[in-house]
């Protein structure tokens, strides 16, 4: 029996970005990049572990927007085009580097192999249905798939319209049941955002557990006996596991985190910015510069981009193995220290954004591969586990009231509520109130009204995605985030006014909205009652 457990959690989420009205759309690349660099490489790692008999355990959010994009025919078709272009470019790079710069020959060949591997896993092994892979690992008892808010709405700032929070949870749970053939047991509260009392909506959906930022556990009242190394039971009947800061810091920290190691691949130096646009061709539709995913340099050190040195995959692989060993050693020490003061084995919960592994930290999936193998073969002190498996063995929890908390900067709502984005909340709240009004008013709508009501619910949900406020704060693609907020509120407002007969309810308009914002095809507006 191990001394303690390690519970890795990967939160996989992207906002729903799908623009059928355009033949290509830059922000759709978010999903394509994440598939290529994170989701498919992770699946390949899990397949390898399963095939080699490694007893890994992983908890993973697959947010409803992400699941919807993973099963959307249009986006999958576009992803195929994206990948083919990338492979063609990688092949051209092998020729170019042979001609112009032999230093990068091996890395260029590596990319041909790497993208070919991604295509093989995605298209051949899983027939472009990556959810099949996740279900396979779930059925093997290794992977716990959890849900999220329907569109990643930030619950603490939705508190003035409780029905809107309930809808976020119910729609997500129903969506999960449709795609995974069972009800979800766990939830990743969007942005790890919690406000006392909101767990009742989670509990209503039959969900048993979630996660909180560390201070959501350590500052709970009364004070939990074991801090974040044991789950707590909230008044609403939902169990919360607390984020362990030490293991988080080892991966996230700018100063001491693994991804900043000098041998790892440099994220920012990408040929999409450096080679002639004419040469890059279709990978840059219309010649617009962007990261294309082919990068030849390593972090090197605290030097300018111009002074970066060539990437050596073998060195990076060696570092990933070394860091996996270091991480494991840290967990062993951690559980030993905690277990000395506990009457049950401690659990160390390490949540990360899934996209950190592979997209931002290219060697991240490799690190996980090594880590699970070392944990399985090299020691018996700490073993990986999922929350339901832990609760099955150790069902008793301290009953406490966690305080408001999030995993954003400073631990509260500042990231999503500040002068860059606070203007959205009066409009989102009004739209939510209006949706509740519509849901209560229409008992027996006709067919068109019914479609309009369901579409209004979709538009509201899409407007509520926390991603838009987050982007406005971080200043990345702000105009797109504002556009999405405006577009969804505009469509919602039209539907509301049309349903109230202030303007004509026109079928072609409803149809257009349905075709653009086609998430949750089975939604029932009555979820807002």
């Amino acid at each position: 029996m191990p001394v303690g457990y390690w519970c890795p959690v990967l939160h996989a989420h992207l906002p729903y970005v799908r623009h059928p009205e355009y033949p290509e759309f830059l922000e759709e690349d978010w999903f394509f990049e994440a598939l290529t660099e994170t989701y498919v490489p992770l699946v390949d790692v899990l397949d390898g572990l399963l095939g080699d008999g490694v007893d890994y355990r992983l908890t993973m959010t697959l947010s409803p927007p992400l699941v919807s994009m993973m099963t959307d025919d249009l986006l999958l078709e576009r992803y195929q085009r994206y990948l083919e272009r990338l492979i063609t470019l990688a092949e051209k790079e092998v020729e170019r580097t042979a001609r112009e710069d032999h230093r990068f020959q091996d890395v260029a060949k590596f990319y041909v192999w790497e993208f070919g591997r991604i295509r093989s896993v995605f298209a051949d092994r899983y027939s472009s249905n990556i959810l099949t892979a996740f279900r396979k690992h779930r059925d093997a008892g290794k992977l716990e798939i959890i849900t999220c808010g329907a569109t990643h709405g930030f619950f603490p700032l939705m508190d003035t319209v409780p029905e809107a929070i309930r809808a976020q949870v119910q729609v997500a749970a129903n969506h999960y049941a449709k795609h995974f053939d069972r009800r979800p047991q766990g939830i990743w509260l969007p942005e790890c955002g919690y406000l006392p009392g909101q767990e009742r909506f989670v509990s209503e959906a039959g969900i048993k557990f979630g996660f909180l930022e560390s201070h959501g556990i350590t500052d709970a009242h009364p004070r939990p006996r074991y801090g974040v190394t044991a789950p707590v039971l909230s008044p609403g009947g939902v169990v919360f596991f607390g984020r362990d800061m030490e293991s988080s810091r080892q991966v996230w920290s700018a100063e001491s985190g693994y991804p900043g190691d000098y041998d790892y691949r440099e994220f920012y130096k990408d040929i999409g910015w450096e080679l002639p646009a004419e040469y890059l061709g279709d990978v840059l539709p219309d010649g617009i510069r962007k990261n294309v995913g082919i990068k030849y340099y390593r972090v090197t050190g605290k030097v300018s981009l111009g002074d970066k040195q060539p990437y050596v995959p073998e060195w990076a692989r060696g570092k990933a193995a070394q860091h996996a060993g270091h991480f494991l050693e840290g967990r062993i020490n951690q559980v030993r220290a905690a277990a000395a003061h506990m009457d049950q084995p401690p659990i160390v919960v390490s949540p990360y954004d899934a996209e950190l592994f592979g997209h931002w930290w290219f060697e991240g999936p490799m690190f996980l591969d090594y880590l699970f193998r070392k944990m399985h073969f090299d020691q018996e002190v700490v073993k990986p586990i999922t929350p339901p498996q832990f609760l099955e063995m150790y069902p008793d929890c301290d009953v406490v009231q966690p305080p408001m908390c999030t995993w954003g900067a400073k631990g509260f709502a500042e990231v999503w509520l500040n002068p860059s984005n606070d203007w959205i909340y009066p409009h989102l709240e009004m739209a939510a109130e209006r949706m509740v009004e519509l849901a209560r008013r229409f008992e027996s709508p006709n067919d068109l009204e019914r479609r309009a009501l369901d579409q209004a619910a979709r538009e509201l949900l899409l407007a509520q995605a926390s991603d838009w406020a987050f982007i406005m704060k971080t200043g990345t693609t702000v105009e797109y985030a504002k556009k999405r907020t405006r577009d969804h509120v505009a469509r919602f407002t039209y539907l509301y006014r049309a349903l109230k007969q202030e303007v004509m309810l026109e079928e072609p308009i409803v149809k257009e909205f349905e075709s653009r914002d086609n998430i949750f095809p089975d939604i029932d507006y009555r979820v807002y009652r």
């Binding site: 922000e27 004070r223 069902p395 009953v399 408001m404 105009e479």
Partner: protein, 279 residues
């Protein structure tokens, strides 16, 4: 399809898809790169150089290629170019870009949100009818001397913060007490007589406690215990009583140097001209 062919076609492919014409900054192109978030501060040595500003995505126009628009060039060129034409897109039936967020929803309301343990965010709406009614009652001069006011109270323990709002403000960051407590906002007029007349009352919010509780947990229960039992186990769990909230009035229109911070401090967050919502 090759890029060269597209560009050489007599009638270039309509390209309205792009979110940008200029490069996106390196640091801004990643999937969910959360710079500024404590989880994702870029590692040293990973700072990115600045790039030209991006064109607004919101301004990107969808493809609108009239299916029967005349095409220049020879017949051969026209046939060749047809390979690169986009499928005809349906005419747009709704133009989201014409939508403007309303200045008012025509209701009297005020709401509070908790930003963090020390700051609340208040936003409100005042109906034109409420203003008209006051104008009828007091006349233009009386209206001009009336101040829209927020009164933030702790209904549990007492204490009120009075914030005389600047003209046109639609939201305000309210400085809360350091101790965890509950708050409710009253939005109303402070009349020339000094009387406060309530327009709307907000939701009740509580700021989070910070730091470990002095009281250790005393009950453990199985995670699947009945809800009533769980709630009973938590008990009253009386926290320390923070006592009445001690505040001072705040006049947003007072000269900057004379403003008293306590009780309202949006000037710490936004420039004086940025009081309006719906930018």
């Amino acid at each position: 399809m090759s890029r060269t062919k597209i560009l050489s076609a007599p009638r270039p492919r309509a390209v309205g898809t792009r979110a940008r014409l200029t490069p996106r900054a390196h640091s801004k192109s990643s999937v969910k790169r959360r710079s500024g978030d404590r989880r994702t501060e870029p590692a040293e040595g990973r700072r990115t150089p600045s790039r030209p500003a991006a064109r607004k995505a919101a301004e990107a126009k969808p493809i609108e290629t009239p299916p029967d628009a005349p095409v220049s060039g020879s017949e051969e060129e026209q046939i060749e170019s047809a390979k690169y034409l986009q499928p005809t897109t349906a005419p747009r039936v709704f133009e989201e870009e014409r939508f403007l967020f309303p200045e008012t929803y025509g209701v009297d309301r005020v709401r509070l949100l908790v930003k963090d343990p020390e700051w609340l965010f208040a936003y409100w709406d005042v109906s034109p009818q409420a203003v008209s009614s006051l104008r009828r009652e007091l006349g233009e001069r009386g209206l001009a001397l009336t101040r829209l006011t927020l009164r933030i109270t702790d209904p549990g323990h007492g204490g009120t913060s009075i914030i005389l709002l600047p003209y046109g403000a639609r939201a305000w960051y309210v400085h809360a007490d350091k101790a965890s407590r509950s708050y409710r906002a009253l939005l109303g007029w402070t009349l020339p007589s000094g009387v406060f007349r309530t327009l709307a009352e907000s939701n009740l919010v509580s700021t989070p406690r910070t730091g470990p509780s002095p009281d250790p947990a005393h009950r453990r229960l199985p995670f699947n215990a009945p809800l009533a039992e769980i709630r009973g186990a938590l008990g009253a769990g009386a926290e320390n009583n923070p006592g009445p909230w001690s505040t001072e009035p705040f006049d947003a229109d007072a000269p900057i140097g004379s403003r008293r911070r306590r009780g309202g401090a949006s000037d710490a967050f936004r420039p004086p001209s940025a009081g309006k919502l719906g930018r």
